[in-house]
Symmetry: C2
Subunit: 308 residues, 2 copies
């Protein structure tokens, strides 16, 4: 089951070098190939549709769950539904992600649609890391469409890291968050597209609860003929704070479109949106070149720093 | 023709105390009541539709044109088309604006739809000031829907000031700008809504020309049950710079929605959007109160400063 390609993909998307000892579910080429529950993290297969129910108890403290999905050299187009029930006061890190490898030709398509719904109890602390990566021949279609919904109860905190650093031809990311009183959301998005890749990211945040807050930082690099579209919808329905920061570096013939909607429906909603799209500043490149780097190396160094 | 109400409206929208000596067109209750061309500013009535053709020659230097529109105590709903042809190198300030006064009841409606199209020649410098104001009984419908289109030729500069500081029940403002090489646009928008007023402002800026630039600063205050919606569409089709800054103070039960779209279709397009919606900071009010002002006075002082 674990070949070199799988090892590489698992490393890229989940920082895993082998099958983890703790709670995990590893999905490969359309089926679950390894699954392990622990005392506080119970994983069961859904009966009606493809996917898992994950129940994390309040006793779960600083534990982690790995859930990589791998598709290799196969014409697979799958839709998987995972539902997370996270107990009040739990503290958990979930490392998800999807890696596609396709060495076929333009008639080959690998596609994963992951629909993740989170019910997060009061005072819980959840970190969810979703990394997307694809490799193989350029002409194959490698598609990832994640849909993630967070219902965040009072006083809970969610940190969401979304990373896609290459190889994925087409991605349509859909994130929806509802926050109750004093609930807190931190989103960090990192995206790079190359060649003719198309990436969309749509984030809707409803600040429903009193003193709820959301901070979203999105950084992206668009190269070659790639295209990125960002849609943010930040809604202040109560006394709340929301801050979106969206920075994009545009290169070559790439296109970046940013479409935020910021809606204040309460006089104590404090909402800020900042978006900046531009190329790398020439001064930055020159500075690194005076340190001995080539122009290409300087560019790469700046991009890597920006996406870190 | 010039009564007290008219004098007050003219003062509010055009800083005019009497009929100006120079180039002007004064429209009252659906008809032109005074019109004057000058050597460099030729005003003629359109033959097919209601409205004017305004031809400003290249010789026009630091001259001004006043074009107030007044509707008083009448059930008037009018649509007026004005077309401006501004010669290369001309330097002109156009003071337009519309004042409505309606003392009727809820069955009375005053509505002015002004469609203004500008063809601006190379190296021209144009300042266009459009002020909207309404007075009279709250229950009457006082509606203003301005539509303004600017075709800006190479190296020309347009400064656009749009002001609406009260009394208008409903306004739908539509502004579209196309900029050629090195053309420059500066927009300053000031808007205040109260009671159940609804205001929309939609600005589309196409940075088509190399080294064209646009700077938009929008400041608004939404009070009571009023609602404001801002739509910006900033499109970088060439090496260009665009900067939108949209700040709103929200009070009482008011709603503010900001929907910008920032699209970079060129690697040398440098686009920035900033939007902030929030209430007046408590510290600011306290500071002024320690200087002897009441809370109400402090609030008014801050709002007036913000909208200046």
């Amino acid at each position: 089951m674990i070949n070199n390609v799988t090892t590489n993909l698992m490393k890229k998307i989940a920082q895993l070098h082998e099958i983890p000892q703790g709670a995990h579910s590893i999905r490969k080429n359309g089926e679950v190939v390894s699954m392990n529950s622990t005392e506080h993290i119970l994983i069961t297969s859904k009966e009606d549709v493809e996917g898992l129910d994950i129940r994390i108890s309040s006793e779960c403290q600083k534990e982690s769950l790995h859930m990589p999905v791998i598709i290799e050299n196969e014409d697979i187009s799958e839709t998987v539904y995972n539902t997370f029930y996270i107990g009040g006061g739990a503290d958990v890190t979930i490392i998800a992600g999807c890696g596609l490898h396709n060495e076929g030709n333009e008639s080959n398509k690998s596609e994963h649609n992951g629909i993740h719904e989170f019910h997060i109890g009061k005072w819980a602390k959840v970190t969810y890391i979703e990394t997307h990566y694809a490799s193989g021949t350029v002409e194959t279609s490698k598609v990832l469409n994640p849909k993630t919904i967070f219902h965040i109860e009072k006083d809970a905190t969610v940190t969401l890291e979304m990373v896609q650093l290459g190889g994925v031809n087409k991605s349509d990311r859909d994130t929806k968050v509802i926050l109750k009183d004093r609930a807190k959301l931190i989103i960090s998005e990192r995206l790079m597209t190359e060649d003719d890749q198309i990436a969309k990211s749509d984030i809707v945040v409803n600040l429903d609860g009193k003193d709820s807050s959301a901070q979203i930082v999105s950084r992206s690099v668009a190269r070659n003929n790639s295209e990125q579209t960002y849609t943010f919808d930040l809604v202040g329905n109560n006394a709340s704070r929301g801050h979106i920061e969206c920075d994009a570096i545009i290169m070559d013939k790439a296109k970046v479109i940013s479409k935020p909607v910021v809606s204040a429906f309460h006089a104590d909603a404090n909402l800020v949106h900042e978006a900046a799209i531009g190329k790398i500043e020439a001064e930055q490149i020159i500075k690194l070149m005076t340190l001995g780097m080539t122009e290409k190396e300087s560019e790469e160094t700046i991009i890597n720093g920006f996406l870190k």
